[in-house]
């Protein structure tokens, strides 16, 4: 056999082996794919990178269900809500959505028939025993449970511990003490309260924190439209307290000339000493690496009799109604609420769980403090105003609060303006 003939033989053999491998791969591939149920997920309730981490962990730990993650929700709160709504309405959405702002969206999703009723799954899994009743109310519509509470936020004051130590200040627990702290900070040449309201969005949240802090659940009646804004004297006290931050020189100058991000720079640079914010701030603060230690306390109540301690909201996991394999989808949702995943998320992504867990002490001290305080006050949360207000009225509220901070409206006029806006909307709808 000559060399040429040998080469032809080898080529033929190589061809046969290649074809056999291809055929084998095609034959085996469907068998592997058929074994695992694929769940399309747009978010697991965390930032993009951490979603990737969780998906990898889930897929490693499960053989029967595999997550395919699409990083679609990369925009602002409003943009993401729009994407979800448009996709669901066009039957082009994912199977599972984690961390949906249930307060702002769940009722609309339920009334349009876009989400699965998870009541029976919820009871069977035993999750029902781990969710505080107030948080459970946020995922319940007309007695049925449509989302699994997953993570939560609660707002408080982050402060510069070094300045507090320098001025020998204690963490205030009452409103009068808080004012004393603001005065001391002001006398020392700092600004006590960080405020950046250009662009709008923190305005309504800050105003709401002060109104909850003074009116408590009465503010919920106002937001729900069952009590007129102008009849809520405690709300007025809250607004006077909020306006006092500007009027008395406690807040940084030009709060309407800088936006939220720019205002945080003032805090990181040590120009302001306290900032009202939520747990999402920790991630930002870690990245900013300020050269001082940050502490946390809840805003002392403007009215000592208030029954609400903080402002917050919860993210819930939902299963899209059109998706048939609820068992597989629920496996993903249930896994997200395991203690192991929750502790990891607390440790690695600074996200608080919306169900009871044993908060480990070996995590970042600031995260530990917020998680512990939130767990201790989980029945005293006033939910985001958009939970109760129509989105349009909430959007207007941001501008109207700017009007008060800029001196164009008094606190009384703010309440009148809100009443007019709210009642006009309700009359039109």
């Amino acid at each position: 056999m000559n060399k040429k003939h040998m080469a032809v033989k080898w080529r033929q053999l190589a061809l046969v082996v290649t074809v056999a491998l291809f055929l084998g791969a095609f034959a085996l591939a469907p068998a592997v794919a058929q074994d695992a149920t694929n769940i399309l997920v747009w978010s697991l309730g965390y930032s993009g990178d951490y979603n990737d981490v969780l998906v990898e962990r889930f897929n490693e730990a499960h053989e029967d269900v595999q997550i395919t993650y699409e990083d679609v929700l990369t925009g602002t709160f409003t943009e993401n809500n729009q994407k979800v709504r448009i996709a669901l309405e066009n039957e082009a959405g994912p199977h599972v959505l984690g961390g949906v702002d249930v307060g702002a969206n769940l009722r609309a999703l339920v009334s349009s028939g876009q989400v699965k009723d998870l009541t029976e799954y919820y009871r069977a899994s035993g999750l029902i025993d781990r969710i505080p009743p107030l948080l459970l109310s946020q995922v319940t519509v007309e007695g049925r449970i449509y989302a699994i509470p997953q993570n939560m936020e609660s707002v408080g004051i982050f402060y510069n511990k070094d300045v507090f130590a320098e001025l020998e200040l204690d963490v205030p627990t009452e409103w009068a003490e808080y004012i004393d702290v603001l005065e001391a900070v002001k006398d020392a040449g700092y600004y006590g309260y960080t405020m950046g309201l250009a662009g709008g969005w923190p305005s309504a949240l800050m105003a709401s924190m002060f109104m909850y802090s003074s009116a408590g659940t009465e503010y919920i009646d106002v937001l729900s439209g069952t009590q007129p804004w102008t009849d809520c004297d405690n709300c007025l006290d809250g607004m006077n307290a909020f306006y006092g931050m500007v009027e008395n020189g406690y807040a940084n100058p030009e709060p309407l000339g800088i936006d939220y991000d720019q205002s945080l720079d003032l805090f990181y640079q040590g120009i302001t000493v306290m900032v009202l914010n939520g747990p999402w701030f920790i991630d930002d603060a870690v990245a900013a690496e300020p050269d001082f230690e940050i502490g946390f306390f809840y805003l002392p109540p403007v009215n000592p009799a208030t029954d609400i301690k903080t402002l917050g909201g919860i993210g819930g996991s939902i299963i899209v109604a059109e998706y048939a394999d609820v068992d597989a989808a629920f496996k993903v949702v249930e896994w997200l609420t395991t203690e192991e995943v929750a502790v990891q998320a607390l440790r690695e992504a600074f996200v608080l769980p919306a169900f009871s867990i044993e908060v480990p002490e070996d995590i970042d001290p600031l995260t530990y403090q917020i998680a512990s305080e939130t767990a201790a006050n989980v029945d005293k949360i006033g939910f985001w105003p958009v939970t109760y207000l129509p989105p349009k009225v909430f959007g207007d509220m941001n501008q109207i609060v700017q009007g008060m901070i800029g001196g164009m409206l008094t606190p009384e006029e703010l309440l009148s303006e809100m009443q007019e806006t709210h009642s006009t909307y309700l009359a039109e709808n």
Partner: protein, 305 residues
């Protein structure tokens, strides 16, 4: 003898009635794209304005002219529209006149023409978002460059919160808009200037015309059609201004810099699609009325003179 049977030839159409399809075939792709991506959405938007729809519900509710009625009685809509008109009034004067004078300046100089043309046109090629963020930092009350510069040159009395003061917030956004837009006007005027025969300028020079006389008696009259185009362009951009204002002020503080497109965007953000599209439709009608009216007026003036 072989006979040939052939169909009687059709008589060729007379040149007077022949329709040449070729030009239509050439523009067909553009027309299809225009209909799908421009005209279609505009018509769909107009149609949607008669319905209540929250982006989510599979059903929409027909409510007739209710959204139009609401918008036309909404003070905030008129407030936003009035700001568009202020913007428009300023936009047809300032960026246009800046563009004209810079174009004349560049046309007149002999050395460095390319450099100046590129340098002055540079802001126009930046994305509106980038420009808005640049100006956001220029206006920053603590870290911005504007207030310290004013203090440095002895104009400290004018330092203030450029975006936080409701009396000037709209005008502050207009400065950023002008910075981004005068370059377009300038290059269009420059192209128009280069079309004017140099013989006219040479003749004027021989007759002893000075710069002012050449500008007002030759340049501006010869750029009549260019003016029409540039101002029409300004009508479109001023009535549709969005990005710069949205990033700088979000329409605030307290609606002080609100314009129609931000009003519409806010409505969309609130899932009020019917209201949003009704407001957008009203704005479209206003823009069409203004631009068509302006063009017709210019044509009438051109014919009458």
């Amino acid at each position: 003898m072989a006979q040939s049977f052939s169909a009687p030839r059709k008589r060729a159409a007379s040149p007077r009635f022949r329709i040449d399809l070729m030009p239509y075939l050439f523009i067909l792709p553009a027309v299809v794209i225009y209909v799908i991506f421009n005209l279609g959405p505009v018509l769909a938007s107009f149609f949607l304005s008669f319905f209540r729809w929250d982006l989510l519900s599979p059903t929409t509710e027909f409510i007739g002219f209710k959204h139009y009625n609401f918008i036309l009685n909404d003070d905030r809509f008129w407030n936003a529209l009035s700001h568009n008109f202020i913007f428009l009034g300023l936009a047809v004067v300032i960026p246009v006149s800046m563009g004209l004078f810079l174009a004349v300046f560049i046309y007149e100089i002999r050395k460095g023409r390319v450099f100046f043309r590129a340098a002055l046109f540079l802001p126009a090629i930046f994305s509106g978002v980038v420009i808005a963020y640049v100006w956001k930092w220029i206006y920053h009350p603590f870290a911005g460059v504007l207030n310290p510069t004013l203090e440095l040159v002895g104009l400290g009395a004018f330092t203030q919160s450029w975006l936080g003061n409701p009396k000037i917030a709209l005008y502050s956004t207009f400065i950023a808009y002008t910075w981004a837009s005068f370059g377009y006007s300038m290059v269009i005027f420059l192209a128009g200037l280069q079309d004017i025969s140099t013989d006219i300028f040479d003749a004027a020079r021989v007759d002893g015309a000075n710069f002012r006389q050449k500008l007002f008696y030759i340049t501006i009259p010869c750029l009549y059609d260019v003016f029409t185009f540039v101002i029409t362009l300004r009508i479109f951009t001023a009535m549709g201004v969005f990005g710069v204002i949205y990033i700088l002020t979000g329409g605030g503080p307290f609606y002080a810099s609100d314009v129609i497109d931000i009003y519409v965007f806010r409505m969309i953000g609130n899932y009020e699609m019917g209201w949003a599209t009704a407001a957008a439709t009203v704005n479209t009608v206003v823009v069409v009325f203004l631009s068509t009216g302006f063009i017709k007026y210019r044509e009438w003036r051109s014919w009458s003179s």
